[in-house]
Symmetry: C2
Subunit: 79 residues, 2 copies
Amino acid sequence: MKAIVNVYLKNGVLDPQGKAVHHALGSLGFLGVKDVRIGKQIVLELEATDEQKAREEVQEMSETLLANTVIEDFNIEIV
Amino acid sequence: MKAIVNVYLKNGVLDPQGKAVHHALGSLGFLGVKDVRIGKQIVLELEATDEQKAREEVQEMSETLLANTVIEDFNIEIV
């Protein structure tokens, strides 16, 4: 079973990497971009076969290690 | 219009960041994880209103700047 955790900065938290990419896109002539935010996508290959159990385990992993919940939010997809 | 670009390492390309997270999860007692791969999720706020046009533009941005297509693949979602 596969789990995908998307970790992204909370609204209002400055994203310098996104700002840099936004600026670079502008320099390359892509002028139709209003904002860029950059997050992480973590793909976990799990041994669990029960979706509910997998989701709970990944929720705990995310809160403990994968996301810094002070400045980041995350969502979990089980595939 | 919003576009999400998921950039991830191609199969077979070593992912040291994923390996480190895998190891850390094991140390924390999460033993049911077989593999971890870490990619980027880039969220673009676009001025375009036409989905087809937005997709083409984001495809070009991804090939030019967002992904290193030698070692990375990407997919695009228009939201």
